[in-house]
Amino acid sequence: AVASWVLNRRCVEAAVMTGLALNCTINKKSLFDRKHYFYADLPAGYQITQQRVPIAVNGSLSYSLCKDNKMSQMVTKTVRIKQIQLEQDSGKSLHDDARSQTLIDLNRAGVGLMEVVMEPDMCCGEEAAAAVRELQLILQTLGSSQAIMAEGQLRVDANISVHHPGEPYGVRTEVKNINSIRFLAKAVDYEIHRQIKELENGGTVLNETRAFDSKLGCTVPMRDKEGKQDYRFMPEPNLPPLILYDAKSLPANVNHQQVVNIDWIHERLPDLPSVKRAKLVELYGILPEHSFTLMNEDGLMDFFEDVVKQTQMKPKKVIGWILNDLLSHLKQHSLTAKESPISSFFLADLLNLLENGDISSSAAKQVFEELWKGEGKTPLEIVKEKQLELIQDQEELEQICQAVIDEREKEVMAIKGGNQKVINKLIGLVRKATRGRANPLLVKQILEKKLSE
């Protein structure tokens, strides 16, 4: 019947790290308050939170979007961070409508939470999704949280309102029960649309809480929250103010374990996603939009770097294979890079064969498909099996080229007549004849030589 709360040090450190990563001012003194309301999943009848003075304020989060779905046109946007506050989690309510009862799981009640409050600087579902995705990456990089939405490690409540340009912000609704970034975008866009329609039909938008129904793709009013509540905030008497120190204010002779030093944490912050992306671009000579995709897809960056380490092919060329061939296959089968049936080792092997001129790029694509089957055969084994090696014998190539020239009088005439483009047809025919085993450049060379004779 009694709970006297003790502050968890790790929560404080996580909040400070996150605040620093989001360019916030860290409040060296922050306070705890009780927020009172009755609900079955709130065993104390109040939640401890930081309503008066939170641990961090006034930050910003930069994120990028592709304009018009073109990867090459990335725009950088910023959303202001109002504050970060520490608070307690409630229990979990599981509504059993069939039996008109609610089951309460109290296991997570009291566990520390970090709430990040953003200002309404975003204008659509895409922006919201991109911002949250970036936040997710930051949290994962810092180690503050795994931030997996499906597992409730990152919970997102969206507040949406509409207004005509130049007019003040409209009435907002809060949308809860959003379980993925994809659903976040959907929920936001649906709600914007709903509010506009409502207003255009002469109705009003209610300041209410709605739930996102992922099956129907729409928001519905939530039963439980009725009217405005007075939470009767009161300072939490059992938790003294949280005092954080920096190098300047750190008292002498203090036990390092007893205090949290903001500067110490700042020095040890890992590279944030934006920094990591810039480094990728610099190190590997890839494009910024490439770095986005690499970091956005779980495990893809590590895969890419592993391949680069094991191959002579330039990263600029490797990236194409990762982002086009590998990623499209992964997406088609809903796999992450870690679950790829082609290991980075094999892919590197394959790219080496290509780079060495042992096979053509079209042959490489064929080998890729074979490797995808995951039967354990090495790229070399597949090449041998399917006889995909490039013909190295110059004489053999010349013979084949000559054979094609002999067959295609019409085309030869056209080329000799000045239509250079037709040579591609001949190249294609040679390739067909060699079943992709001819180096197209070499073929072109040979044909041109022969035709000029």
């Binding site: 019947a1 006297s4 009172h36 009755f38 109040y46 905030f233 009161m234 059992n238």
Partner: protein
């Protein structure tokens, strides 16, 4: 231990105990005896029977707070202070009665009924008692213990245990100590862990210690004080237990007499005892100075706002869902809450919850809660100034009068009574200062009168040293109870060090 248990049984009419843990107590006593035989006692408290107010969590023993809300509730853990006592071999006899959820100044408003002051049955009281009319039956003359730790005070006073834990939020340990003629210590806020003490006002509650003499209080304090990682409001400093020196020379002492404590309702008797005590110090060479604590008369109003606000908050957890009483009403969660809380709490508790919620409403918060906190700061500063000007200890009365008869007490409601009775003790809670009631003399009616010493923050040693000197000077008489005589005449021989030998 057996003697104490027997005495508890024969003094059951006092209604001091809610639960008597006979079996476990006997087992603990047995274990203790074994240790003594081996020559390995755990310390001074090993084998000493104690009682604990029923708002401290005790593992395996019911904790009710004298409320329907927690009837049948058995805590899975011991409050830190209880654990500390048990770790030192103390024998837990049982849980003592109180006002429901420690709200009250008479120990009359719990669901198990009122506690009777053992002095009602003392020879001293009976000799002096003048019935108001012949038709009054003898049984109805009994006087209250004061509250809210009345059960603990009565338990110690009636010799059923050697020490008891109470709690003190507005005077709840000192008030019944004064009425029952025992020593009641309120330690500095933050010195003793509140973990496991069901909270009334988190920013003012402290565990209180009730004993028959000041030395005993120091011993118990020594075993309880110190930082508890489970209670973030305990101070980090290492506490050194101390033995009290026997003061002979008080000439270096400066005693302050706060003039505002000469309140309107103060009985002339108490005033006289207070004066005499001041003279006692003066004649012994101490400097006795009148001082002023100008904001004293705001403390009750301030206390009401802050206390009810915290009560409203702390009582929110009693919703019938996880533990304790749950109403049969099950139409909806809200209706179940409402019914549970109506059934589980008495009027006093509900009244305070409603008031507290009112003060915490957004539109009222600044005017009431914040204002009260500011006034609280002023009250605390009064003490800082006085102690800063060279005063070592303050001497004040503890109560307005000696214990009133129950029939008279209940004529006024709980709130009125609390308002009146807390006035002399409350400010020490506001300021977080240590204070102790020392039984001083008997009133005309043969009932105890106590005086209060208030000390500087964390200066319990100085406070208790002075208290001990004063105790020696006044030689407060031992209660003469039939029941005690019957059981063990030798108990009376151990009057002064009726303690841990």
């Amino acid at each position: 231990c057996q003697r104490c248990l027997a005495l508890i049984r024969s003094t059951q009419f006092l209604n001091a105990y809610i639960t008597v843990a006979e079996d476990s107590a006997l087992k603990q006593a047995e274990e203790s005896e074994k240790r003594y035989r081996r020559g390995q006692p755990l310390g001074e408290l090993d084998g000493i029977p104690i009682a604990v107010k029923d708002n401290f969590n005790t593992a395996g023993i019911e904790t009710t707070c004298a409320s329907n809300m927690l009837k049948g509730y058995i805590s899975p853990y011991n409050a830190t202070v209880v654990q500390k006592l048990l770790d030192r071999g103390a024998v837990l006899l049982g849980k003592t009665n109180l006002d429901e959820f420690a709200m009250g100044s008479g120990s009359t408003d719990g669901v198990f009924g009122p506690v009777r002051n053992p002095w009602s049955y003392s020879r001293q009281y009976k000799e002096k008692f003048v019935p108001r009319s012949d038709s009054e039956p003898e049984n109805s003359n009994w006087v209250i213990t004061g509250g809210s730790s009345g059960g603990s005070a009565a338990a110690v006073s009636a010799f059923t245990c050697f020490a008891a834990l109470g709690s003190d939020t507005g005077g709840s340990t000192r008030n019944p100590a004064a009425h029952c003629g025992v020593v009641g210590l309120k330690p500095t806020y933050g010195l003793i862990s509140r973990h496991g003490l069901i909270p009334l006002v988190n920013s003012m509650d402290v565990p209180g210690i009730l004993t028959r003499c000041v030395d005993d209080a120091a011993v118990v304090l020594g075993s309880l004080a110190g930082h508890d990682p489970k209670d973030s409001t305990t101070v980090q400093d290492i506490f050194q237990p101390f033995a009290l020196p026997s003061l002979t020379d008080v000439s270096k002492l400066s005693i302050g007499i706060p003039k505002e404590y000469h309140v309107p309702g103060l009985s002339s008797e108490i005033l006289a005892v207070w004066s005499k005590a001041a003279d006692l110090f003066k004649n012994a060479g101490a400097k006795v100075v009148e001082v002023s604590l100008p904001h004293t008369h705001y403390s009750i109003v301030c206390y009401h706002v802050l206390c009810t606000a915290e009560v409203a908050s702390n009582m929110a957890r009693f919703d019938g869902l996880e533990y304790g009483h749950r109403s049969d009403m099950n139409k909806s969660t809200e209706s179940m809450y409402a019914a549970t809380r109506r059934e589980g709490f008495n009027d006093v508790v509900r009244g305070r919850i409603l008031s507290g919620n009112y003060f915490l409403l957004k539109q009222n918060y600044e005017d009431y809660f914040v204002k009260a906190q500011k006034v609280r700061r002023l009250i605390a500063n009064d003490f800082v100034k006085v102690f800063g000007s060279g005063i070592d200890i303050l001497l004040t009365p503890t109560t307005l009068s000696d214990a009133v008869p129950y029939m008279e007490f209940i004529k006024e409601d709980n709130r009125t009574r609390s308002t009146q009775d807390d006035i002399l003790t409350q400010a020490a809670n506001m300021a977080g200062l240590p204070a102790v009631n020392v039984p001083t003399a008997l009133s005309r009616r043969g009932l105890p009168i106590g005086l209060q010493f208030i000390g500087r923050s964390f200066q319990e040693k100085q406070l208790l040293t002075v208290a001990k000197w004063f105790e020696k000077q006044v030689q407060f008489p031992v209660i003469q109870l039939e029941e005690v005589k019957k059981h063990d005449s030798s108990v009376l021989q151990h009057q002064k060090s009726a303690s841990f030998s």
